[in-house]
Structure formats: structure tokens, C-alpha cells
């Protein structure tokens, strides 16, 4: 799975890995983990600026959706990010859809 360097509030860059999430539905859910020091408010604004729509949170879980129906869920307390590809995407294309969402996340982190 791809790994990309991403800056954080600390000077040293961190490496983000995109891995398959715990899931029973094939290749629909993917995971990456951000540092606890992430500026979540700025990240949320950057995601919205890149076209994602903020959805109502579930407890401490933040949610953003793309026009295609893919979702990004974030838990600031733990840094967990779940990327959810819409179930109508054919299985062989799901990984690429997840990677596009991952790229969007990284770009939001690079230019919040």
C-alpha cells in the first residue's frame, strides 16, 4: 500500500501508510493514522476546501463525504482515519478509489 510523507505540527515529517481496514466487506474500508498533534480544525477546513462535505459527527468521530459517496471518518483522540469507498464501486476499482481519497487527505495535510 502507498506511503506518503506528510508534515505535522512537529518539524519532523511522518510517514502515512494506507492499509486495509478491519472490515467484512471486501476492500471498502481503508485506514491510516495521523499524529495526535494534527490540527484537526485546519484539516477539516482543508478537506472541505477540496470538495468534501462535512457530515454530522458521531460522538467524537468526524465525518466528511465526497460527491461520489465515499467517506472519510476521523477520530481526533486517537488519530484514526477510516476511508470508506462507496459500495457501488466495483471491487477491482476500490483500492484506487481509496488511494484517491488518501491523496486528497495528504494534500489537505500539506496545504491546510
Amino acid at each position: 500500500m502507498p506511503a506518503m510523507p506528510a508534515p505535522t505540527a512537529t518539524p519532523a515529517p511522518v510517514s502515512l501508510a494506507l492499509t486495509r481496514e478491519v472490515s467484512c466487506i471486501r476492500s471498502l474500508a481503508w485506514r491510516t493514522d495521523l499524529p495526535a498533534a494534527t490540527d484537526w480544525r485546519a484539516l477539516g477546513a482543508a478537506l472541505e476546501a477540496r470538495g468534501l462535505v462535512r457530515r454530522p459527527p458521531v460522538g467524537a468521530m468526524l465525518r466528511f463525504a465526497s460527491a461520489a459517496g465515499d467517506e472519510l471518518a476521523a477520530i481526533p483522540a486517537t488519530g484514526r482515519i477510516q476511508l470508506r469507498v462507496h459500495y457501488t464501486v466495483p471491487e477491482h476499482e476500490r483500492r484506487f478509489a481509496a488511494e484517491r481519497l488518501f491523496q486528497l487527505l495528504v494534500h489537505a495535510l500539506l496545504r491546510p
Binding site: 478491519v22 467484512c24 454530522p56 483522540a77 484514526r80 459500495y87
Partner: protein, 417 residues
Amino acid sequence: MPIGDLRQLLADQSLTFLAGIPYVYHCHHYNLFHDQTIDDALGEAEGARVRTTAAHNAFRELLGAVFAAAGATTPAERISLATEVFSWMGQGRMSLDITAAGGRARSPSLHYGFAWREKYGARVKRDEPTDAVAAGFAAATTELAFDLAADAVTAVEQRCLATRDPECEFTLTPGNGHLSRPAIDQATVVRYVASPVRGVDEDRIAAIAAGLLEFMRGVQGDERGLVAAFNVFVTAHLPAYYNETVYEAIHHIERTAAGGVPAAEALMREAGQVCVFNTFGNVLLSPEWEGLVGAPTGVATDVMSFSTAIARGLGFGHWLVNEYEPRKRLVLQATSNYEVPFYRARYGVAKKPRSYFVQGAALAMMLLAETVQWTERPQLTNAYYIELFRGKPRYRVEQTRCMMRGDTTSEYVVDAL
């Protein structure tokens, strides 16, 4: 009237109702396994017939109550409302082209067909359609839309997503008709619950269950009538469907092949295991859970409390931990569950404990609490399920009290072997 406005909650028993008819949440793993269990017990043809009949009866109860509550009187109003309810439940979005004489129904997105294709489609070739629930729904809708008698219409699925057709198609034709039975509604259910009892870690369980119930209030089908949540496909479903299929199958085997009863009962118990492993497991590992409760700790007593809270949050009834000693013993009790009211109302007092679903669930809760390494991001795969549940037995479950039998509460004891 928004469909959500028809919901009621019997909060102290963790039971949920839509227009006064009980409903619960189950995921596609459980739904597919449940149906397979019925077919395994009865054979494919008889299994499909029992499942379709049960869905037909269950949706007649639900839709009759919904139409009355919403004041839907014309065929067009009723057909429109029925398809909205079905979609709201996460069962899929159906198009019905029907008259009093029957007609056709179709859908590109039914829960059972779509989920079967997702779960098994790449590995298994299927010849028989999966959507008995949708067939029963279509028949019930047609009858109620045109004020026909029960079973005046029969629905048969001709094409199915699970058999690699592009969409599911049903034909609706005149049926034989039979007398309908009284609905098992909220008034019936409350006759078969006991006063709620506090269990171990009660305050925390109650708080988490309340949060989960609140979250589930926002869960409903999307534009395709499906719900993808907790890493699974979720449905709001009718206990009457699960119960009629299970108990009709068991009673049939008791009448015709008594020697096969233990095996059939073990199958029904396994459906409870499948539910806890997949549904409870995926809930515990989901970001939603992390947002509501926190990341999994891996502490066995936490997992036991969380599982009990999930059962309540999904509308399974007031389950409580009476006693729990890790790696040795669990005593799970229930002052209500979704199996008891159906059995007592339809069949009377049982001669032996018959709460198969919770029996299997209790055993699975013990294994999930003791064995799964929750902090290591386990993959809840079929291979892991087989490793946990079909290897050397580590625990046994016995239902020591059963409200179907007339006991004051239901009790399930899991002991280490």
C-alpha cells in the same frame, strides 16, 4: 409523516417498535447465515417456502400497522409508503407495478441479493434466488394496497443479483388465501417481559446502550435502500421473520425427524454466534464505536459489558450480566428478548428452553471477551470465525431458565470445559 416518527422505544427493556411492531437491527452476515440455516434444516425448496411465508406474514403485520398509523388509504399511497418503509429499513429499493390481480416487482439493490454477491459472489456460484424477504414484502404490499385477504397474492423471484442477473425481478400472481393471525405488537410484547433487573456494570452498559440507540435512530437506507455502517450492511428487520422461520423449522423437524433436533438446534444457536462475531465484532472495531465509546481496550470485562450494551442498542432486549468470571463462567440473563413474545403468542408455553439465538450469542460473547486480541486490529474473517468456533470447544452454554417455558426470566450459563 416521516417514517422515523413511527418509531417507539420501550426504553427499560431495550425493545424497539415501528408503528407498534417490533424491529431489531441485524447485519448481512447474520441475515445470510440465518437463511442458510433454515435451508440447511428444511432443504432448499421447503426452506425458501418457509422463509417467503414468514416474510409475507411479518410484512403484513408491519405494513398494516404503518398504513393505519399514517392514514394511508389509497393503493397509490400504500404502495409508495410501503416501498419507502422497505428502503428506510435498509432492505433495498423496490419498484412495484401491481394491480389487485398481481403484477411485477424489481430492484437493482436488495439487501440479501446485493450482500450475498458481495460476500460470496467471487467464490460461489448460486442457482437459487436469495430474496425471500423481498418476495414476502411484495406480496404483502400488493394485498394490503388493494385490501385483499392474507395470502391472496404469491410472489416468486425470477431473477436475482445473487445469481448474476443485473437486477432482482419478481412475479406476483393470485394465491390461495389463508386466515391471518393477530399481529404480535407492542401490547403483546409487554405481556411477555419481566421487570428490568440491574446487572454487573449496569450504569456503564445503560449509558453506552442509550448512546447506541440514539445513533441507530439516525441510521436509515440510502438512495438505494441500503445501509452500509459499522463495516457491514445493516438492516432494520422484523423479529417475526426470524422467529417464524426458526420455530417453524424446528417444529417441523420435531414432527418428522426427531433424531435431527439436536443438530437443528445447534444450527440455530450458531446463527447467534455468527451475529455476535460479525455484528458485535465489527461494531466494536468501528470508528463509530471509537467515537462513541473509545478504542477497544482488550480487557475481557470491558468486552463483556460492551457486548451487552450492543445487544440492547440493537433492540435485542434487556440483556444483563448476572455473573462473569473471566475464563471460567458467564451468567447472562434477559428480562426481555425478541424471541419470547413470538413463541408464547404463537405456540404457547414451551416444554424446554428455546431461546436459541441468545444461547449462541452468550457463548460467542464469552469467546470474544476471552480470545480476540482487540488491540491488535483483528480481521474478523471467515477463517478466524472457524478457528474460534469450530476448533476444540472451550466453553459450553446451557439455558437454565426460559421465559418461553414460563420461567420469570431467561438465563444462559456459559462454563469453561
